[in-house]
């Protein structure tokens, strides 16, 4: 069927979402909550005008003769207000946030020039002389959980986009409470106990769900001249790392150079056929390899770089750290900042 987008005629298939048709034709629409698999229309940022009415483009299907406008004063206004409301529910901690420069909300807030001047922040650091009771009201339930071995949860950063709830194959998360008290959590707020496939961390647009690690210790180990840091790269992880850092973190496209820059002394890339004996290969580093190179195993730090964050559970004397593509990107980001003198560790 034919539909009109911004006064130009486009071809679309029955049952397709407007957002998808626009994307396929190079028309950019911002969104926070929709993904390829799930379009729920929760963030209300992907609004467009359909026959003069504001509607979300992600979950509205095309219909014959539809006339769609993707940029207008009203659309801008809707996006600005809704982002501002979200921003005020989130505000405060970008500078020190683990996901700084890698956060979807942050980039949208920048794009739409959101400044929080209308509302008192509900989470994060509250500054100014505001009334105490108001501040107390605004401090809604925050769930911070670092007791599980793989995923660090902090609902302070959550934008309630529901991506983690939808993507989880084990239905570990859900919306708890309602209205402005809503919080993404586990049943009865128990400690997260799942197979830790890491899909939720992958889809989280903010720093609400992050890889569990001891970041300071990792940086220290990598910088330690006495430590021999070995990176074992899981099959297929290279692309994922480069995907993470190409959003403006580093222009470098050579992964080996990046890793050496971070302080790794040796890099081992696993191939597809190593899938079943990766534990064995990792074990060989502190045993056979150490013997062969005459390095004291105690001076070796083995990093497994993989999307399988459940491996964090299996750290042992032969495996010191498990890093995901996101954690590598974070290391690269901080290294770049040190290089340009922006932060000092």
């Amino acid at each position: 069927m034919e539909i009109k987008i911004n006064n130009k005629i486009y071809e679309a298939k029955e049952g397709e979402g407007i957002f998808k048709v626009c994307k396929n034709n190079g028309i950019k629409i911002p969104t926070l909550c929709s993904s390829k698999e799930f379009q729920e229309g929760l963030c209300r940022i992907c609004v467009v005008e359909i026959n003069g009415k504001l509607m979300t483009s992600c979950n509205t299907k095309v219909a014959e003769g539809m006339e769609i406008i993707t940029e207008s004063e009203n659309i801008d206004k809707a996006r600005r207000i809704n982002l501002e409301l979200l921003w005020a529910d989130h505000a405060g901690k970008c500078a020190t946030c683990k996901k700084n420069r890698m956060c979807k909300l942050q980039s949208l807030a920048e794009e739409y020039k959101i400044e929080n001047f209308h509302f008192i922040p509900r989470k994060g650091e509250i500054t100014g002389q505001e009334e105490l009771d108001l501040i107390r009201d605004n401090w809604t339930r925050v769930v911070v959980e670092n007791e599980n071995p793989c995923i660090s949860r902090n609902s302070e950063f959550c934008v309630e986009c529901r991506k983690c709830i939808n993507v989880c194959p084990e239905k570990a998360f859900g919306f708890n409470h309602r209205g402005s008290d809503i919080v993404v959590g586990t049943p009865y707020e128990k400690v997260l106990d799942c197979s830790f496939c890491g899909e939720c961390v992958r889809v989280c647009p903010t720093a609400s769900l992050m890889d569990q690690n001891n970041y300071g210790e990792i940086v220290e180990t990598l910088d330690d001249l006495k430590k021999f840091s070995v990176a074992v790269l899981d099959f297929g992880i290279e692309e994922k790392i480069l995907e993470q850092i190409k959003i403006g973190i580093s222009p470098e496209k050579d992964l080996n150079k990046l890793l050496i820059n971070l302080g790794f002394e040796k890099i081992i890339s696993l191939s597809e056929k190593d899938k079943d004996n990766e534990d064995e290969i990792i074990k060989q580093i502190k045993t056979d390899y150490a013997k062969q190179e005459k390095i004291n195993p105690a001076d070796i730090a083995v990093f497994f770089i993989s999307s399988k964050i459940y491996k964090k559970k299996n750290k042992n004397e032969f495996l010191d750290y498990v890093l995901s593509e996101r954690e590598v990107a974070r290391l690269v980001r901080d290294k770049e900042k040190i290089k340009t003198g922006k932060i000092r560790l």
């Binding site: 207000i81 501002e84 409301l85 005020a88 108001l134 309630e160 919306f175 309602r178 209205g179 402005s180």
Partner: protein, 412 residues
């Protein structure tokens, strides 16, 4: 015509716990007529002719809704009676159960059979414990008389009826949220289309009707759709239960034909304004209703906004809160905004955050600490609530606040 009573006719005269009392005043005659003389499609046709429309507030044509489910080729279909009723200031549906539960039950059985449903649910607000008990009793008595179950009154018709108790969430009065709730999911609205009439409960065509709407059905079956269409306003005929509260002499539920004016209701039904009080405004349709000043009270209460010279207003759930000048507007603002802040399901951004911010600003307004920045923010929030929320709850939460700003000029 003014004295015609369809729903309240036997209120107070019969014992709601005794099916014999209801039978004594002609109860279940409509069901008998349907079973012995009518085809299901004839029932739907009569209801269409009557012009009956949804009494929950939206005013959608009941006949069209039933017809679209009836015509759906899928074998499995459901009928749901919406007894959620949590609009503040609205208590008509539970009074129907309190006073004449069998009228409602008869309506449910006829409606469900007319669309070919084998199972009907009564979705009742979890707080209505007393009403649930009355209904359970009524359902039991009706089963003994073979008004539902297998081979109803010796016919080929079968129907199961089940009461489903919600948890008392306002949003579960919205039909897609209600269906989610019965399914065991979180009570939150779903994107439409598909409409419940196409794919509702368990993916099957489902008609969700308000309890008051359903209670009109037996009368329509007995007297005919044509007769019903003669009552009240042309574009939304019938009688309606109006709930008057606030500064009127006799607050309560009154049955009156649609198209009646707000003024008539206040003066002739509720005995006028209480002595020593001065009318300020009336809120029509519960916490989500618009505010009407004295000069607007001649407006006729309808389900659709009239065209031309006929000044009419949408009555919503039919509740009319009369507010006099002694009322502190701060209290009302906080009560409205707190209600919606609490009852928003929280899934979409403008409603979750916007309702919270309105409540916050209402409190600052009470404490005399409101700033120009807040007033600007209110404009933005009301705009986004009106234009971008997922379901109508967002829009509802903005209505009264907006009227308070625009009509009552609360900012001064």
């Amino acid at each position: 015509m003014k004295d015609i009573k369809i729903i309240t006719e036997h209120w107070g005269k019969i014992d709601p716990l005794k099916i014999e009392d209801y039978l004594g005043v002609g109860g279940y005659e409509a069901l008998g007529k349907f079973i012995s003389k009518m085809k299901p499609e004839e029932v739907v046709e009569e209801i269409k002719k009557s012009g009956l429309c949804g009494r929950g507030g939206a005013g959608f044509s009941t006949g069209n809704k039933l017809e679209s489910v009836a015509n759906n080729p899928k074998a499995e279909k459901y009928f749901i009676c919406n007894l959620e009723e949590s609009e503040p200031g609205t208590y008509k549906d539970r009074l129907i159960v309190d006073n004449n539960p069998h009228l409602l039950l008869e309506g449910i059985i006829i409606s469900a059979l007319s669309i070919g449903a084998k199972r009907a649910y009564i979705y009742i607000n979890g707080n209505f414990e007393k009403q649930k008990e009355i209904l359970e009793r009524a359902i039991e008595q009706a089963k003994e008389k073979k008004y539902w179950g297998e081979n109803i009154l010796g016919s080929e018709y079968n129907l199961e009826i089940e009461i489903f108790s919600g948890a008392g969430a306002y949003i579960c009065g919205e039909e897609t949220a209600l269906i989610n709730s019965i399914k065991g999911n979180r009570g939150e609205p779903k994107y439409r289309p598909p409409y419940p009439t196409q794919a509702g409960l368990f993916g099957c065509p489902t008609a969700v009707n308000n309890a008051e709407t359903i209670s009109n059905i037996p009368w329509i079956i007995l007297q005919g759709g044509k007769e019903y269409a003669k009552i009240g306003a042309k574009n939304s005929p019938g009688t309606k239960l109006f709930i008057l509260s606030g500064a009127v002499k006799n607050p309560g539920v009154y049955e009156a034909p649609t198209g009646i004016t707000v003024k008539e209701l206040i003066e002739e039904y509720a005995g006028g304004i209480q002595k020593g009080k001065e009318f300020w405004f009336a809120q029509i349709g519960g916490a989500c209703g618009k505010l009407f000043l004295e000069k607007e009270l001649d407006a006729k209460l309808n389900f659709s906004v009239g065209t031309g010279r006929d000044l009419s207003v949408q009555m919503g759930s039919g509740s009319i809160l009369v507010v006099d000048k002694s009322v502190n507007i701060h209290d009302l603002l906080i009560s409205w905004t707190d209600f919606f802040r609490r009852e928003s399901c929280g899934k979409c951004v403008p409603c979750r955050e916007g309702t919270f911010r309105l409540w916050e600003i209402a409190k600052r307004f009470r404490d005399n600490k409101i700033s120009d920045r807040d007033k600007e923010a209110v404009k933005d929030i009301l705009w986004t609530l009106n234009n971008t929320t997922f379901c109508p709850l967002g829009k509802f939460s903005a209505t009264a606040f907006q009227d308070a700003v625009e009509k009552l000029k609360i900012w001064k």
